[in-house]
């Protein structure tokens, strides 16, 4: 180190740090560029009618209301599947599990589940829910598939926030004679709730934006009216974008509708993520323990 003068050492530091800064700017520019581009091209398509009416003229005009509702059904279904299972698994990991082979197996299972490609979840949903359980291509099959896909996200966020509850909380409750379950239900879970909520919102955002898992389990290009039962097929925003942009004879003609749909989907997904991030930041600042 002493071979170089202090000045040259500081010069190389400035050089490196400037490079890191430029890299960060590039990454931000990619995000900002995409958002701004989509906003500029999509905003003209957005109107009250676009959001609340059905597609007309073989998809070349009209709105995307059924797709918005479909995405809503699918994500609500997914969270109904994933939230109870995910929180229960997190409670096991944080409150009951002890170090050992069983815990290692469970952790490996969750890690690998998180790494399974979304299209493989689609295949799995097709084989198990659509085929084996005879749910057909339906909201139910799609919700179950999406629910399993976001399960690791929910488990991760819930476990983290359960672990952040100080052990003194538990000891105080147990010391007063409460059982383990009473302690979890009345002390630990309420304290961990904001974190669990954040995780769920992130999970919902992820479920709303996924396309591959619902392609063969739930989504369809066009439905007449809204679905009437969980066993009906459904339109969904991400799938709507994919089909409008790649298939059909009016690809160029429907370009404004495509940008509009992309803008709606981005607003929904990023809006949810933003809410989750804000809740989390607030929580970290106000939490006293």
């Amino acid at each position: 180190m002493s071979r170089h003068s202090l000045a040259s050492r500081h010069f190389s530091q400035n050089l490196a740090f400037t490079m890191f800064r430029l890299i960060m700017l590039t990454v931000l520019a990619a995000l900002g560029g995409i958002l701004i581009y989509v906003f500029i091209h999509g905003i003209s398509a957005i109107s009250w009618e676009f959001l609340t009416s059905e597609p007309t003229n073989s998809m070349t005009a009209g709105g995307i209301f059924p797709a918005i509702m479909g995405t809503l059904y699918l994500t609500v279904g997914a969270i109904l599947v994933a939230l109870p299972l995910g929180v229960a698994a997190a409670i096991y990991l944080s409150e009951y599990a002890t170090d050992g082979r069983a815990l290692r197996v469970v952790r490996l299972g969750i890690q690998n589940l998180a790494g399974v490609p979304s299209v493989v979840f689609g295949l799995f949903g097709l084989a198990l829910f659509v085929g084996y359980f005879h749910l057909g291509i339906s909201i139910a099959a799609g919700s179950l598939t999406l629910g399993l896909l976001i399960l690791p996200t929910i488990i991760g966020a819930s476990e983290e926030s359960l672990r952040q509850v100080p052990s003194t909380f538990r000891e105080a409750s147990l010391g007063l004679g409460a059982t383990r379950w009473q302690t979890i239900r009345k002390v630990v879970l309420p304290a961990a709730l904001p974190g669990i909520l954040t995780g769920s919102i992130l999970g919902i955002g992820r479920a709303a934006g996924e396309t591959a898992p619902i392609m063969f389990t739930a989504a369809t290009f066009y439905t007449i009216g809204l679905p009437r039962s969980p066993l009906d097929t459904v339109m969904a925003l991400p799938y709507h974008i994919y089909v409008l942009a790649t298939a059909g004879t009016h690809i160029e003609q429907t370009r404004p509708l495509q940008y509009g749909t992309v803008l709606v989907l981005i607003s929904m997904v990023l809006g949810l993520s933003l809410v989750a991030i804000i809740i989390r930041t607030r929580m970290r600042k106000t939490k006293q323990w």
Binding site: I23, M24, V27, L28, Y96, V106, F124
Partner: protein, 322 residues
């Protein structure tokens, strides 16, 4: 409340009889109930393992059917993917090559950018800047893949075609750029966590000895965080390899072994997504797509296991191992 005999209270295997206040019936039911509740949670804990097992089971159940007519060798190393021709060809070598091409090129873009962003967030940015920029990187992660596919297809592809005068903008390079955008947040946030977990006293010791911040970074912090950064890079690559919508919309879809980054490819996930919709349930083609699912599943699981191994094997155990 009924009184119950003391003998039912079991304290331990060889516990001497101690004076225990007689339990009420209510307390006994609550111990039984506690045990039951515990069991429910243990089962929920194992649910992910069960799902993994079911995924393997159903992929193999539907996929192995192919190998009664096509040999494993012809499937993995066959150079022609003509599933709907008569006679059909189920060789996925071009598809594997396509997946490899986009994974490698996207990593070449995403690793420097992701690691650089992590170094900036972890070591250069002030606290307030970091508090704003970290969420921005997270937002990038939550961008739906179909949106990136759309942007690559509608915006980037025509530009590429114009600039370089190439036959199609839907090619390896375009798909890799879009995949890189998906992989960067994964790499950046895991790497940043790793940088953050290097013990502060080591950093301070290095600075106190007169090293500059860059010297501390390259000789103390990065060596200490290298396993975490490696994990992040591999998970980022795994994400790029398994990602579907981007390669479905942007990679061009030609089942060929690419010889340049301006050629179209048809990666594994894109093949499944593009063809499953038009395949009769239970046909040879249907089984072939599940067999591709098995290959994709094993490849990404390989990546994930390597990542898990690295993070365990080279895990920073206190200051002593530095």
């Amino acid at each position: 409340m009924l009184q119950i005999p003391e003998a039912q209270v079991i304290v331990g295997d060889n516990a001497p009889p101690v004076a225990v206040a007689p339990l009420t019936k209510r307390k006994v039911t609550s111990t039984v109930q506690e045990a039951r509740i515990r069991r429910v949670f243990v089962v929920s804990g194992f649910f992910s393992v069960i799902i993994m097992a079911l995924i393997v089971l159903f992929l193999f159940k539907e996929g192995l059917g192919l190998f009664s007519t096509v040999s494993v060798k012809d499937f993995l190393f066959g150079e022609f993917w003509y599933p709907t021709y008569d006679p059909s060809d189920f060789g996925i070598l071009p598809l594997i090559a396509g997946s490899m091409a986009v994974t490698v090129i996207s990593s070449a873009i995403a690793v420097p950018l992701g690691v650089g962003a992590a170094l900036y967030l972890g070591e250069v940015a002030g606290n307030r800047t970091r508090e704003i920029l970290k969420p921005a990187v997270e937002l990038l992660a939550s961008l739906p893949s179909v949106v990136l596919g759309f942007v690559g297809m509608v915006v980037i592809a025509p530009l590429m075609q114009q600039w370089w005068d190439i036959p199609t903008g839907l090619n390896v390079l375009n798909a890799s750029m879009m995949l890189a955008i998906m992989a960067i947040p994964t790499i950046a946030s895991i790497s940043e966590d790793a940088l953050h977990s290097v013990p502060r006293d080591l950093v301070e010791a290095s600075l106190a000895l007169g090293a500059t911040r860059l010297e501390t970074l390259t000789r103390v912090i990065i060596p200490g965080a290298i396993s975490g950064m490696g994990t992040g890079v591999i998970l980022g690559m795994s994400r790029a390899m398994g990602e579907t919508m981007v390669v479905l919309m942007v990679a061009g879809g030609a089942a060929q072994i690419p010889t340049s980054i301006f050629e179209s490819v048809r990666p594994l996930p894109a093949t499944i997504a593009a063809e499953m919709g038009e395949t009769p349930f239970g046909s040879e083609h249907y089984h072939a797509l599940f067999a591709i699912g098995i290959v994709l599943f094993l490849l990404t699981m390989g990546f994930n296991l390597v990542a898990a191994y690295i993070s365990q094997r080279f895990h920073q155990k206190g200051a002593a191992t530095l």
